[in-house]
Amino acid sequence: MKLLSHFPAIGVSNTYIIGSTEGGDAILVDPGRFDVTLLNLIEDNNFDIKTVLVTHDHENHIKGLKTLMKIYNPLVIAGNEEIFEIPTKSVKDGESLICSGFQVEVIEVKGHSSDSRVYRIASYLFTGDVLSAGRIGSSSTSYTREFLLQSIKTKIMCLDEDLLILPGHGPPTSISAEKKWNSDLRNTL
């Protein structure tokens, strides 16, 4: 299993690719921007993007989707039923799917965005804007912030401490690192 990450200078939202070491069918998480570097990353590893996982439909996480559709025409999996008028497979909390040969588990964590989904693949947790290194996602009201905090606490922080968190923004982190150094969470755990 190969994990690749792309950190574009513009938009600075992370895109991840998961495929097998030999290439072939692969998953792309959050096509925030489709640029030549990302295209080369896919092609140099002989990947064919068959599945796109969208953590939420904010523009900086999906802006590259239309271009990606033209080249690879993947199945799009998201919390909403369509994005840019592209029909998606809408998924809910607790669903488990086989995508491009990988088992994907869906965790619904609302509070940052109503369509927010966290995806678990093996030891990796793709959290989008729900949780990043040392921070939780932004919320529009104190109610949604509390809702987000409680959802993270009950659905994410109870998972294996060694899981690697791959957020939509910023560097990778782990459940154990967030328990120790995330100021937003420390007071609630």
């Binding site: 299993m1 190969k2 994990l3 990450s5 950190f7 600075v12 992370n14 097998s20 070491t21 086989i98 491009s100 040969g101 990988f102 088992q103 693949i121 093996a122 030891s123 990796y124 290194a133 040392g134 921070r135 294996d160 060694d162 899981l163 690697l164 910023g170 560097p171 990778p172 982190t173 782990s174 690192a177 120790k180 150094w181 995330n182 100021s183």
Partner: protein, 211 residues
């Protein structure tokens, strides 16, 4: 697809394995099936990995070196991609001009190490000890330095774009002539940190900056 054909069964980068010794729940050590305590020849195994690393290819990809003792090691000009160094002891080592791409350097002891001219990109280094280190002239982009100890550490002339130092201890650290754009210092006592000729105004010193 049948469950047996799932690609999840292939070797996973950063896969967390437990020791195969009966009833042991500790993490497996480096790429061995045992934890350090239950390894039948721990010292010999550690020496072999260290020897193989220092005389072998300088480009290393998808390797697990967790829990090894690399004290005083010289790994100048090495290239590490998607490697795991969790809890490794590097103290007193030299890692000049070394590149770490998407590596796990969490909870390592790297006190008194030389990282000058190094390049780190999308690295997890949370909880590590980098006290009395020199990172002068490094590119430390999108690195998770949350909760680190960096007492008297020199980051001068480095690009730290988008890195995070949340709740780090950095008394006596120096960030002179650095790019600090979107660096997060929330929870850091910056009173004893030198930001001369840098742009701390483009970083987050406290949460109030974000409002």
């Amino acid at each position: 697809m049948q469950p047996g054909l799932l690609k999840n069964n292939l070797k996973i980068v950063f896969e967390y394995k437990t020791c195969t010794y009966e009833n042991c729940t500790k993490s497996a050590w480096a790429e061995s099936p045992f934890c350090r305590e239950h390894h039948p020849s721990a010292l010999e195994y550690e020496r072999e990995i260290r020897r193989e690393l220092t005389i072998g290819n300088k480009k290393n990809e998808n390797r697990d070196y967790s829990d090894l003792d690399f004290s005083g090691i010289v790994l100048d000009n090495f290239d590490f991609l998607y490697c795991r160094f969790t809890r490794v002891r590097f103290s007193g080592g030299s890692l000049k001009n070394t590149r770490f791409l998407m590596c796990l350097l969490d909870n390592i002891d790297a006190s008194e190490c030389v990282f000058t001219g190094s390049r780190m990109m999308s690295v997890l280094a949370a909880g590590s000890n980098f006290s009395d280190c020199a990172f002068t002239g490094s590119d430390l982009i999108n690195v998770n330095f949350n909760g680190i100890q960096a007492f008297n550490t020199i980051f001068d002339e480095s690009d730290l774009f988008y890195s995070r130092f949340i709740n780090a201890q950095a008394e006596g650290a120096s960030f002179q002539d650095c790019n600090l754009k979107r660096v997060d210092f929330t929870g850091v006592n910056v009173n004893d940190v030198n930001f001369s000729n840098s742009n701390p105004e483009e970083s987050y010193i406290s949460r109030e900056d974000e409002k």
